[in-house]
Amino acid sequence: MSTAAATIDHHHDASTSTGIPNKKLLMWAFLASDCMFFGCLISTHLIYRLHPPPGTLPAKQVFSIELTSFSTFILLMSSLMMALAVNAIQKGNLKSLRWSLLTTILFGCIFLGCQVYEFREFVFVKHLTITNSILGTTFFTLTGTHGLHVLIGVIWLSSMLIYSFTGRLSEKDAIDVESMGLYWHFVDIVWIVIFTAVYLLEYL
């Protein structure tokens, strides 16, 4: 068994009809439906953006594009670290895996911290709340849902980091990290769409 474990083929699973591991296929199917979740939320925001009731605060006066650009950059870099983590576990390099996971978690937390700061600014300084305007309603729901995805990802990554120390996560579980990686990259890609459609669009 030990020699078999050392020569795991991470790109072909002989036990399935297609060679794609079940967990990976499950994740792809889930991401397809997650596209529709975010698609509906983003559409809601874009439709309501075209019909502002009179007296609505212009979004440009609320947003702080510098801060959001910074957190966007951090989130994109976390995708790089996630890719390195997948690469590390497929090579059985646990030390490198741990550093990559830790950095990904850290970057995810910085993004979340920026979002918490941004939300507090909007609510207490700019007086944009989830109830007082349609912009607040769609903005906080959409970005909040994305933030929830990042938070779930951070918790999931942290469990992997812990289990890499207890022996529960080793090279044979590379598929778990790879599926997690698909999720993380997807959450990043969605953020690129949100950043464009919600923030950058206001500066056109």
Binding site: L25, A29, S33, T44, Y48, K91, I134, T137, E171
Partner: protein, 662 residues
Amino acid sequence: MEALVKSDFLHKEAAPAPPFVLWRPTAKHGVIGWLTTVDHKRIGFLYGISALAFFIVGGLEALCIRLQLMVPNNHFLTSAQYSEMFTMHATTMIFLVIMPLGNAFFNFIMPLQVGARDVAFPRMNAFAYWIFLVGAIILNIGWFTKDGAPDAGWFGYAPLTTRTFSPTHAIDMWVMGLQLLGVSSMIGAFNFIVTIINLRAPGMTMMRLPVFTWMTLFTSFLIVLSFPAITIALVEIMMDRLFGTNFFEVSNGGLPILWQHLFWIFGHPEVYILILPAMGIISEILPTFSRKPLFGYPIVVFSGASIGFLGFGVWSHHMFTTGMGTTATAAFALMTMAIAVPTGVKIFNWIGTLWGGHISMRTPMMFALGFLWMFMIGGLSGIMHSAAPADAQQHGSYFVVAHFHYVLIGGSLFAIFAGIHYWFPLMFGRKVSEFWGKLSFWLVFIGFNVTFFPMHFLGLEGMPRRTFTYDKNMGWETGNMVATVGTFILGLGALIYFVTMVYTYYKGEKTTKDPWDARTLEWSLPNPPPEYNYQALPTVHARDGWWYAKLHPDIVAKEDAEHKQADEAHGGLHMPHQSIYPFLASCGMLIGGIGVSVIDPANPHDWPGFWGPKIAVTILGGAIMFVSILLWALEGNDGYHIHLNDDGSIKSSDQTAPAAHH
């Protein structure tokens, strides 16, 4: 070699941790056996039994509706009770009867048809069932509380569902119940997609899949892609109701039309989620009883795919009267006409299957032929709606009620009745009486037509949907009286059908393997199928795999022996462990769901009233769910191995010890 060195290094660093198992249930029978089962056949059975229970509930609601409408100015129900009845009748029949009955077949039949020993994620499969039950319970709690049952229609149009117009918790329960049912359907669908794509037996190429399995795949994709739309719509209305957001609050810029779009982006694919499994069942039954292969198999498969695809582009034909503008109206009218084409293609393929066949008129075949005819009537009145000017006249009238009942009863339900009859010998090893089966068919067929055919005319004469009563001088009393009489014939037919099924389950005549001389793999199994399904994984050589096997027994015997040997070389047949956590996690969801939707906020004046029993119960439910899922993840998915005797009985099983192999 480099990988080997690194891997050895890592093994020294931390020894592999054993799974963390609090309790490994092994009971196959009794309450524990059912609560912890991960066997797709037992889960299918659970879906079926629950759906039949709700079929009785939904049927009684229908009877109440018809009794109220039997004579003009009737006072059998108040208008408020009538609203609850039609809302819950529709919600129950769609989400708690037809969808789970489809799921029962997906679970029981599909893994057998692809030649698998279980679904890809057995515990997740159990989870999907238990969440379904939780959603069904939350949806129906209102009958027993002071708030009453949901009463805003199954489509729940905003702003009727907002706090202003529906201040009680009835709508909260409807929202929460549907939300959970959506989660259940999606989890189930992910599982079926992976199972069909990845767990096919050797030789079972995609173009050899039985048509029912193809339709399961398309239905699962429709579920995965359309349910998010209603989930988001429900999230939005829930945010409006619980936290005071403005999604559908007109005074703050909300647009109620958005609800209609999101709902029907889900709602129209949902129609195909209800009918595609039926088409799959019919495509299995017609060839078996015509003693011919299905005519034009690839065309039937691809027209199923194009129905699924086009199904996402027709949703606004439910909204022709909302004033979308001429371009959008014309586009959706065209798409709606286009989607009739693949449906018509299927009808012609089924007729082609019958053509020149050696037809045997058994009960499943009678229901299947009934489907063909009744579904066609429903389809034709559907095409009438695609013409937007005509639709403007028919919209919101009994004509629409007649149309969708022809599709959902004459279509879906007839096919499901046919399917239950057809697969009953396989599922339970007993054969249903032909006399009682045919009697129930004729009663259902006649009762159904007597009930719903007059509604076409009632609709064209202007009788509106959802009206709780009507005046004598409208000229509607004959049609309504006839429809109500028909309902009782239909109800009697359904009663005989299910009493016969229950009787057969306990007392019916025992049957041999493959009693219909059928064509697909599941019939190669002994009935009822053993827990591990296939003693030797089958090798598939042709589209009708079992038919080929019957004609070439020597080849099959040789391959079976090879597969058995291969299984033994891998340590025996691999079986998934049972688990209590899917059930416990859904108990958490039930508690949390009750917290969100049933319990009053702490202080109504300090709305939304943060701390109090509502928040406490919600957090408690969430915590139970989180801990259960964590323990579920930690117990691992190792499974165990069994070894079989030649007759298929279990020789030995290492269920109590974790399996060494993967």
